[in-house]
């Protein structure tokens, strides 16, 4: 079916399959439709149906609080079309998605499943077709037995790859994460849509890099640092990574982070902040390449980064309270312009 979108920068049209999510169809045709979480929580992809009929696939999505249903508004990320439709989208849109990283549908088989802590696991997805993505991007994963998709950032960085690596934290009410943790998922298949997300790292930005991550938010940061290391970016630029976890038992990827620092010890610094305990005495001996601190990660970063924000671009990923604290710090203390702070708003 045909979907017309009226936007602040003109009208566009794209094809949409039966039962296909309206946002996903538009993005895979290269339209820069507004979105952030792509999974029903942030409200950014609000649109109004002015002709035709759309069906909300998740009427109770948290992002519906931004939508005026009495005016026939929808979240494009959680709606499908029942026929040809015309949508109004209150944003500037272009056909500008870089075709290298145009999102699309794939299927992936889960493998290499490992428990990193009692409630954090990592796994690989072997895709049926290769994908290219930018460091910092995410995909939406959907399992046949669990309704709705969940967004996860890639840990690795590769162009034209058939392997995506993920890290997932178990959430008490998270149906998808419980699905992953409660059974042997090796060999199970999931649908994959992506890549998505604009909190991406590009070496031609030419700036020093400051990364602030909480818990599994480290995933996209790992991808960013991996690309930076692979392309010798940190030979000429500084990189600062701050990784927050409650206790040392919740920490993971410390060997991988040590490996990054080993490659460029003069220009890359990794600090792990423990919010719920003092730093154990032996930790710095066990991981001599990593610095440790006690406190919330954005507070530790604030103390240790004073005066180092020159020519900086910042990446933030983690739980909502950490993201809010980090953004406040980056605006008020680091005085970074909003255009140099990159994060994907998932709430």
């Amino acid at each position: 079916m045909k979907i017309k979108v009226q936007t602040k920068s003109g009208e566009f049209e794209y094809d949409c399959e039966q039962d296909e999510i309206l946002l996903y169809a538009g993005l895979r045709h290269g339209l820069t439709l507004p979105y952030e979480c792509a999974t029903g929580t942030c409200g950014t992809c609000r649109a109004r149906v002015v002709e035709g009929e759309a069906r909300l696939e998740w009427a109770d999505a948290p992002g519906m609080s931004y939508v005026k249903q009495e005016k026939n508004e929808i979240l494009m990320c959680r709606a499908t079309a029942l026929g040809n439709c015309t949508l109004r989208v209150p944003a500037k849109v272009s056909e500008g998605i870089n075709h290298d990283v145009l999102p699309g549908y794939r299927n992936g088989e889960i493998g290499n499943v490992r428990l990193l802590t009692p409630d954090v696991m990592c796994f690989d997805l072997s895709l049926d077709q290769p994908v290219t993505f930018d460091a910092g991007q995410f995909v939406v994963l959907e399992a046949a037995d669990v309704t709705g998709g969940r967004a996860y950032s890639m840990v690795n960085y590769r162009r034209d790859t058939e392997t995506l690596k993920f890290v997932v934290k178990r959430k008490p009410d998270g149906k998808f994460s419980n699905w992953l943790f409660d059974r042997d998922v090796k060999g199970k298949h999931v649908d994959v849509y992506g890549p998505l997300g604009k909190a991406t790292f590009h070496p031609d930005d030419g700036k020093n890099v400051f990364c602030l991550a909480g818990g599994s938010g480290i995933a996209g940061i790992m991808s960013i640092i991996a690309r930076g290391c692979e392309e010798a970016y940190f030979r000429d630029h500084k990189g600062y990574v701050f990784f927050g976890v409650p206790t040392v038992r919740d920490a993971f990827f410390l060997d991988e982070l040590s490996g990054f620092v080993d490659a460029v010890p003069n220009n890359l610094e990794v600090t792990v902040a423990l919010s719920d305990e003092d730093v154990p005495a032996d930790l710095e001996k066990r991981f001599p390449r990593i610095k440790f601190g006690a406190g919330f990660v954005h507070v530790v970063a604030s103390e240790r980064m004073a005066g180092k924000y020159d020519n900086m671009i910042a990446y933030v990923a983690g739980p909502p309270a950490m993201v809010d604290g980090a953004l406040t710090m980056l605006v008020l203390e680091a005085r970074l312009p909003g255009t140099d702070i990159r994060y994907d708003k998932f709430t």
Binding site: Q6, T7, K8, S9, G10, G43, T44, R48, Y66, K68, K71, R88, P90, A91, K92, D324, L327, T328, V331, L332, R335, P337, G338, T339, I341, K345
Partner: protein, 124 residues
């Protein structure tokens, strides 16, 4: 002109903003150091309450929800902002901050929704 007293100068320290109710209208007063600015309580983007999401530094107001920014000294949009911030005329009289609150300033989403607006397609 309908000048109304909003607050005492000392109630809004430098680089902070605070919400006030004046005769049934809600206004935020921001002290950006060189002066005061007054604006409606919600972000023009997605109706975020600016008394909670607003950050003020160097004369620039930032809504921390999506980092839309406005320079309160000039009224200009900064960075990623796509809509102007509506502002009340403000003046100081002695130790008091006054706002010209003849009528309530509201964004398109409140009254004539922007998607009903004939100017929907107009460039900013």
């Amino acid at each position: 002109m309908n000048w109304k007293r909003v607050c005492a100068v000392g109630e809004v320290p430098e680089n902070t903003l605070k919400k006030f109710d004046v005769d049934g209208l809600t206004i935020i007063i921001a002290n950006y150091g060189d002066g005061f600015q007054g604006f409606p309580p919600l972000c023009p983007h997605m109706e975020e309450p600016l008394a909670e999401s607003g950050l003020l530094e160097g004369g620039v107001l930032t809504c921390s929800k999506h980092l839309w920014q406005w320079d309160l000294r000039t009224g200009e949009m900064v960075g990623m902002a796509e809509k102007p911030l509506l502002t009340y005329e403000i003046k100081r009289e002695g130790d008091e901050v006054l706002a010209n609150m003849e009528s309530e300033l509201v964004y398109d989403y409140d009254e004539e929704d922007e998607m009903d607006d004939d100017n929907f397609f107009a460039a900013d």
